[in-house]
Amino acid sequence: MHIPDGLMTPEVVAAGWLVALIALAFCISKVNRRVDDKVIPFMAILAAGIFVAQMVNFPVWGGTTGHLLGAALATILLGPYAAVIVISVILIIQCLVFGDGGLTALGLNIANMAVVGCLSSWLIFRPISRKSEKTGVLLAAWTSVFVAAAVTAAELTISYDMSGGAYGIAGTLSIPLMLGYHALIGIGEAIITSAVFIYLWKVAPDTLRMRIGKKEMAS
């Protein structure tokens, strides 16, 4: 779902940067006050792990592939603030070092995948996990991909309408295609996220207690 350069109108690109920078500043200030020695290596390893997991594509219906987004996994394990930072760092490295996603579109990619992805996972995971953590993980993972795709489709539609077709993709095409493909990719995300969660729960349950700000959020 990495947006390339020149796909969206400059206005949408600017809005993406604005959302990305405000959200990152907020999350950094939240995490800076709570980071402790135990969480540092875990957060760094999780970031590296999500980076490599994102490179591995799986097929979905209709000759399309998907890959892990990791926003839900990071949110569930680290809490939403640290997760936004982790996914943003990954997106920045993918863009600057590997040319995945455009440099001008980096703000939009952070806004869609890190901010929207993590926030939507958290909004789903937080209430559902009180009844069943595993159901919460499954639904949060699917939702993160679907909502991020819906926001991307909206940006494509707005770009198309604002520029009279010079940028973006008409909503009649972008909305059904993006939602359709990502409803399927979200299933892959849900399966992988749940598998990693269950694996950690069995092998190293203490890693599930590292969520930054968990105590105050749980109350």
Partner: protein
């Protein structure tokens, strides 16, 4: 610390295996957004900025790219958090003294 080492090794091995899937599927097909662009007849423009590395054309190149990326990601997050931690303990030290 040993557990973290194991976790890293596990990730590397899984990735090496998973990359086979990458070459089985992603060479021919795009991801959800690329497919949407393709079906809408949108041509991707040349990038505004050219990155020093790519994900690689063959298995070995992609494996190296993945390891480089994982190393850089780990290094940046780890270094950043260490700096934050040190700065905060300095500030707390000043407050109590």
């Amino acid at each position: 610390m040993n557990r973290y080492l194991k976790a890293v090794l596990g990730i590397v091995v899984l990735f090496a295996i998973g990359l086979v899937f990458y070459f089985m599927f992603s060479a021919a097909y795009g991801d959800g957004l690329e497919r949407t662009m393709e079906e809408s007849g949108i041509q991707e423009q040349g990038p505004f900025y050219t990155a020093p590395f790519a994900y690689g054309e063959d298995y070995l190149a992609a494996l190296v790219a993945g390891l480089i990326g994982a190393g850089i990601t780990f290094g940046i997050v780890y270094a950043y958090l260490r700096v934050v931690r040190r700065k905060r303990s300095e500030m707390e030290g000043n407050e109590t003294s």
